[in-house]
C-alpha cells in the first residue's frame, strides 16, 4: 500500500473518472450529476444507502443502463454518456464480478474459466484439455486458490468461488495491471470469516497494483480494505475521501446527511453495541414462550434453549453450526429426529401441530434468511405480499374485500415506513431494505407470540437496518418473544438480551449483560474447544 497522504491524486494516477453522470428512470432521478474518481492500484469503496445510485452507477459502467448525461474517462479515452457502452468499458479494461458470480457450480474451475475465455484448441480443432488445465493451474496459483483445475466449483468454499470469479474476470491481464476490477457486493452472501478471507485476498491484489472498485453495505469490511471512499446519497456524490481514514461514524454521517450521531442511525444502525435492556433470564421471569429441549436433526445435536415473553435471544455460530436449521425446526419446516419443541403462547385452541401451517396458527412467525428465494413473491403486488399471511381475513362469501385489503396495506406501508410506489406496484420494484421491512410487516400484522428472524438485516441498507432494529425492539416490548439468528456479532450485541453460541450442533455458550460483547462472541464462535453436553443422539444424520 502506498502513502495515504499523497493528495490530491495526480492526473496520471487516475484510471477512471466519471463526471456529472445523470440517469433518470421515469420520474425517479437515480443519478444526479454524480462524480467518481478511481486511482491506480487502490481499493475504492462506493458506499451509500439503498437507492442512493451506486448500483445504477455500476450498471452504467457495465453498459446495462445508458446514462442520460455525463462523461466517462478511462485509459486515455473519453466518452460522453451516449457513446459509452459495454464494449467500450471492456476495451478500456473494466472487469465485473457481480453478487451473482455467474459460475456453473457443476462444472470444473477450468471449464468455468474456458467458458468465458474460450477453450484452447489443438491441431484438429478438438479442445486441448492439457493446455487449459496448465493455464488454469497457473491462474489458481496466482490467486492463491488451493484447488485443482478439475475441481467442480460447487466443491469450493464460498470465498474461493468468488476468487475464481475474480480470477476468471481478470485472466487476460498481463503484468502491467491495466484492468480495473469492479466488485458489486462481493461479501453480501458470505459469512464473516469467508468475507475476511476474500477481503484479505482482494487487499493483496491491490498491494500488487490491482485497481478495485467495490460496492458494499458492510461498513467494517469496507473500512478494513479500502484506500479511498466515495459516498453517494440521493444520486449525488456527497463525499470523496482520498487516502483519508474515516471511521464508521464518519461514513454513516455522510450517507445519512446527518452530522454527528443522530438517534436511530447511529450505533444501532451500524451494529455498534448499544445498551441492551439486559433482563437476565431468571427462573421466575415472564412465561416461557419457546421451549426447545434436546433437539437433534441435520447439524443439530441436542439443542436446549428457552425464550421468554418480551425477550430477544440471539443465536450465532459458524456456517453449518445449525443456526438456520434451528429456526426452521422451530417453525416446523424441518422435523427433528429427537427432542421436543414446545410453543406455549399461541391463541387458545390453536393448532399445535409441528407443521408450518400449525406453527403459524400457533402464533409463530418466521422471516427467512433468503429473502428473494424464501420470502418474496417478486412479481405479485406489494399488497399481495403484505396479505400473504392473512388472506383468509379478507374473504367474504361474495368475494375478497379488496378495498379493505388495500387500505390495510397502505396503512402498513406507512406504519412500517416502507417506501413503495403504491400498494399495487410489483414487489420487485422495492429496494432490499424496503422488501425486508415489508416481509417483517407481513408477519407482525398477525401479532405473533414468537418471532423467528434469520439474518434480519442481510443486504439491507443502513437506514432500513435502524428501522428494523426499532421495530423488533418495539415488538418485543409488546410481549413477543424474539429469536434472532445472525452471523453479525455487532448486530446481536446491539439487539439481544442474551446470545447463544452454537458449536458442534449444541449450545456452547451463553452471554448476557456486560459479558455480551462482539469480541467475546467472535472468540466463542471460532473456538475449537469441544462442547460439553449430552452425547450425540443415536442414529443422528450427518
Amino acid at each position: 500500500m502506498t502513502s495515504t497522504e499523497s493528495l490530491p491524486a495526480s492526473a496520471t494516477d487516475v484510471v477512471l473518472r466519471i463526471a456529472g453522470m445523470t440517469k433518470r428512470f421515469g420520474a425517479t432521478l437515480a443519478l444526479d450529476a454524480a462524480d467518481l474518481t478511481l486511482r491506480q492500484g487502490t481499493v475504492h469503496a462506493l458506499v451509500g444507502g439503498n437507492g442512493c445510485g451506486k448500483s445504477t452507477t455500476i450498471k452504467v459502467l457495465a453498459g446495462v443502463h445508458r446514462a442520460d448525461a455525463g462523461r466517462i474517462e478511462m485509459a486515455g479515452s473519453s466518452w460522453s454518456a451516449a457513446e459509452y457502452d459495454a464494449r467500450a468499458g471492456r476495451a478500456a479494461g473494466l472487469r465485473f464480478v457481480h453478487q451473482d458470480l455467474g459460475l456453473f457450480p457443476e462444472l470444473s474451475i477450468a471449464e468455468n474459466v474456458a467458458l468465458d475465455a474460450g477453450y484452447p484448441r489443438g491441431a484438429t480443432g478438438r479442445v486441448s484439455w492439457t493446455a487449459l488445465h496448465r493455464r488454469v493451474a497457473g491462474l489458481l496459483a496466482d490467486y492463491e486458490i488451493d484447488a485443482s483445475p478439475a475441481t467442480p466449483v460447487a466443491a469450493l468454499r464460498p470465498a474461493q468461488r468468488t476468487l475464481v470469479a475474480i480470477a476468471r474476470a481478470l485472466q487476460d491481464q498481463e503484468d502491467d495491471r491495466h484492468l480495473v476490477l469492479v466488485l458489486d457486493e462481493p461479501t453480501a452472501t458470505l459469512p464473516q470469516h469467508e468475507s475476511q478471507l476474500l477481503l484479505d485476498a482482494v487487499r493483496r491484489r491491490a498491494d500488487h497494483g490491482q485497481t478495485v472498485l467495490m460496492v458494499s453495505h458492510r461498513m467494517p469490511e469496507v473500512l478494513s480494505v479500502s484506500d479511498d471512499f466515495t459516498v453517494f446519497r440521493d444520486g449525488r456524490s456527497v463525499a470523496s475521501l482520498v487516502g483519508a481514514r474515516p471511521t464508521e461514524r464518519d461514513l454513516v454521517a455522510h450517507m445519512t446527511g446527518i452530522a454527528g450521531n443522530p438517534p436511530g442511525t447511529g450505533p444501532a444502525a451500524t451494529g455498534d453495541a448499544s445498551a441492551a435492556s439486559g433482563t437476565p433470564a431468571g427462573t421466575d421471569g415472564p412465561e416461557v414462550v419457546l421451549d426447545v429441549s434436546g433437539v437433534s436433526g441435520g447439524p443439530l445435536r441436542g439443542v436446549d434453549l428457552q425464550v421468554r415473553r418480551g425477550e430477544i435471544v440471539g443465536v450465532t455460530g459458524l456456517v453449518g453450526s445449525g443456526r438456520t436449521s434451528l429456526l426452521k425446526t422451530v417453525f416446523g419446516e424441518h422435523t427433528p429426529i429427537a427432542g421436543s419443541v414446545r410453543i406455549a403462547a399461541g391463541p387458545p385452541g390453536a393448532s399445535t401441530a409441528a407443521t408450518v401451517a400449525g406453527r403459524i396458527a400457533g402464533g409463530v412467525a418466521y422471516v427467512p434468511e433468503d429473502r428473494g428465494g424464501e420470502a418474496a413473491f417478486a412479481d405479485l403486488t406489494v399488497r399481495d405480499n403484505l396479505s400473504a399471511t392473512v388472506v383468509r381475513r379478507y374473504w367474504r362469501p361474495w368475494g375478497m374485500a379488496a378495498r379493505r385489503e388495500r387500505v390495510d396495506a397502505a396503512a402498513l406501508l406507512r406504519s412500517h415506513t416502507i417506501k413503495a410506489p403504491s400498494t399495487e406496484a410489483p414487489f420487485a420494484a422495492l429496494s432490499g431494505g424496503n422488501q425486508q421491512k415489508a416481509i417483517l410487516a407481513r408477519w407482525l400484522r398477525r401479532e405473533p407470540a414468537l418471532l423467528l428472524l434469520d439474518e434480519p438485516t442481510q443486504g439491507v441498507d443502513v437506514m432500513s437496518r435502524a428501522d428494523i432494529y426499532r421495530i423488533v425492539r418495539e415488538t418485543a416490548g409488546r410481549g413477543c418473544a424474539v429469536l434472532v439468528a445472525s452471523s453479525d456479532q455487532l448486530e446481536l450485541c446491539g439487539l439481544c438480551d442474551r446470545v447463544l453460541v452454537l458449536r458442534d450442533g449444541r449450545v456452547a455458550a451463553e452471554l448476557s449483560g456486560p459479558e455480551l460483547t462482539a469480541d467475546r462472541l467472535t472468540a466463542l464462535t471460532q473456538s475449537t474447544e469441544p462442547v460439553a453436553g449430552p452425547a450425540p443422539a443415536p442414529g443422528e444424520r450427518r
Binding site: G51, A375, A388, T417, E424
Partner: protein
C-alpha cells in the same frame, strides 16, 4: 389476482388516511393509470377491432356480422373455451398440463362407448367420463407433486398414453350409434338465441373467476406460481394445492369431452391435440389481458374469442384452410412474447 377491471383503477385509499402525515405511498400518476388501463384492455380492443374489420370488409360483411354466424362461432368455440379454462388452473401455479386435450378426448370416447357398447344410462356415462378425467388429473398431480417429476414431460407422456388407449378402446373407429339422443339434442339446442353449451362455458368462467380471484385458495395458487418456497413458508400447503389444480383441470377437461360429444353427436378416436393447442394459445393470450402478466379466467375467454373471430373472419373472406393454423400459431407466439415482456417490465430496479 383479486381485482376486477374497475377495482384495479382505484389504488389509493381516498379517505381514512391522515392527510398531514407524509405518506410513503405515492398515488399513481394519471399517465401510469392510463397505461395500465390500456394494457388491461388491449386484447379486448383488438377483438372489437377485428369484429369491426370483418363486419365492414366487403368479402366477409355479408355473412360475418350475422346472429347466425355468431351462434355457430360461439357454439363451436365453447369446447375450446372450456378446455382453455381447464388449462389455466395448473398454469397459475406454474405447471403445464399437456394431457388435458387427451383427457377431454378420453372422456368423450368413454362417455360415448359406455352408452354405445355397455348400454349405460346417460347420467352414469357422463359421470364416469368426468370422474375419469378427475382421476387422471389426480394421477398427474401426484406424479408432479409427490414424486417431483417434471410436469412438461409427465403430462406429455400421459397424453401419449391416453391417445393409445383411445385407439385400443375404439379400435380406431368413430363411435356413432347408441348414444343417448338427449345429449346431441342438448348440444344443438339454443336458449335466448345462443347455443346452450355457451351457457355452460359462461357459468364455468364465472365459477373459475370466483375461485381464482375471489377466494383465499385462488390467491394461494398465484402465490405458489410466483414463488413456491415463499408460499410454503407463509403456511400454504403447496403440494396439496397444486394437486387440487390438476384434479380440477382434469375434471373440467372431462366436462369438455362430454360437451364435445354433445356438439358432435359422435366420438372420434382422436388424441385431443387439435383441441389442446388452440386452448393453450387462448390461455397465453388471456394472460396479456385483464390482469396482465397472470393467467386469468376472463382474459382466457377474450383470448378464445379473439382467435376464433379472426379465424372465422378469414374463412368467410375466402382464405384457405391453412389460414387458421397459421393465425393460431402466430397468435400464440405473439401472446407468449407479450406476456414475457409484461413480466419483464414489471421487473426489478434497485438503487
Amino acid at each position: 389476482m383479486t381485482l376486477t377491471n374497475t377495482e384495479h383503477l382505484d389504488t389509493s385509499d381516498g379517505n381514512g388516511s391522515d392527510a398531514s402525515a407524509p405518506s410513503p405511498v405515492a398515488a399513481p400518476t394519471p399517465s401510469s393509470r392510463l397505461k395500465g388501463f390500456a394494457e388491461r384492455n388491449a386484447l379486448l380492443a383488438l377483438l372489437l377491432a377485428v369484429i369491426t374489420f370483418f363486419a365492414v370488409y366487403p368479402e366477409s360483411s355479408a355473412t360475418f356480422f350475422t346472429s347466425q354466424n355468431a351462434s355457430v362461432l360461439l357454439g363451436n368455440q365453447s369446447v375450446v373455451a372450456l378446455l382453455a379454462l381447464a388449462v389455466i388452473l395448473p398454469l397459475v401455479t406454474g405447471y403445464f398440463d399437456f394431457s388435458l386435450g387427451a383427457i377431454a378426448a378420453t372422456s368423450s370416447v368413454l362417455t360415448a362407448g359406455l352408452m354405445s357398447f355397455h348400454d349405460l344410462p346417460l347420467g352414469l356415462a357422463v359421470a364416469v367420463g368426468v370422474g375419469v378425467g378427475a382421476v387422471i388429473g389426480g394421477i398427474n398431480g401426484l406424479l408432479v407433486t409427490r414424486f417431483g417429476l417434471n410436469s412438461f414431460v409427465t403430462t406429455l407422456g400421459m397424453a401419449t398414453l391416453l391417445g393409445g388407449l383411445i385407439q385400443w378402446y375404439t379400435g380406431g373407429q368413430t363411435i356413432l350409434a347408441g348414444i343417448d339422443p338427449a345429449l346431441p339434442r342438448f348440444g344443438g339446442s339454443t336458449w335466448l338465441g345462443l347455443p346452450r353449451v355457451v351457457f355452460v362455458v359462461l357459468i364455468t368462467t364465472v365459477a373459475l373467476w370466483y375461485l381464482l380471484a375471489q377466494t383465499p385458495f385462488g390467491r394461494s395458487l398465484y402465490a405458489i406460481g410466483s414463488n413456491p418456497r415463499s408460499a410454503r413458508l407463509v403456511g400454504i400447503r403447496v403440494e396439496r394445492s397444486v394437486w387440487t389444480t390438476f384434479v380440477l383441470a382434469g375434471a373440467l377437461a372431462g366436462v369438455t369431452g362430454v360437451l364435445q360429444l354433445a356438439r358432435a353427436g359422435s366420438a372420434t378416436a382422436d388424441n385431443g391435440t387439435s383441441l389442446l393447442f388452440p386452448a393453450l394459445a387462448a390461455a397465453f393470450l388471456g394472460a396479456t389481458a385483464v390482469v396482465p402478466g397472470f393467467f386469468n379466467a376472463v382474459g382466457t375467454i377474450i383470448g378464445v374469442l379473439f382467435v376464433s373471430v379472426a379465424v372465422s373472419g378469414l374463412t368467410l373472406s375466402g382464405a384457405s384452410a391453412w389460414a387458421s393454423p397459421v393465425f393460431n400459431g402466430a397468435a400464440l407466439l405473439v401472446a407468449v412474447g407479450l406476456s414475457h415482456y409484461l413480466g419483464r417490465h414489471r421487473g426489478v430496479r434497485t438503487g
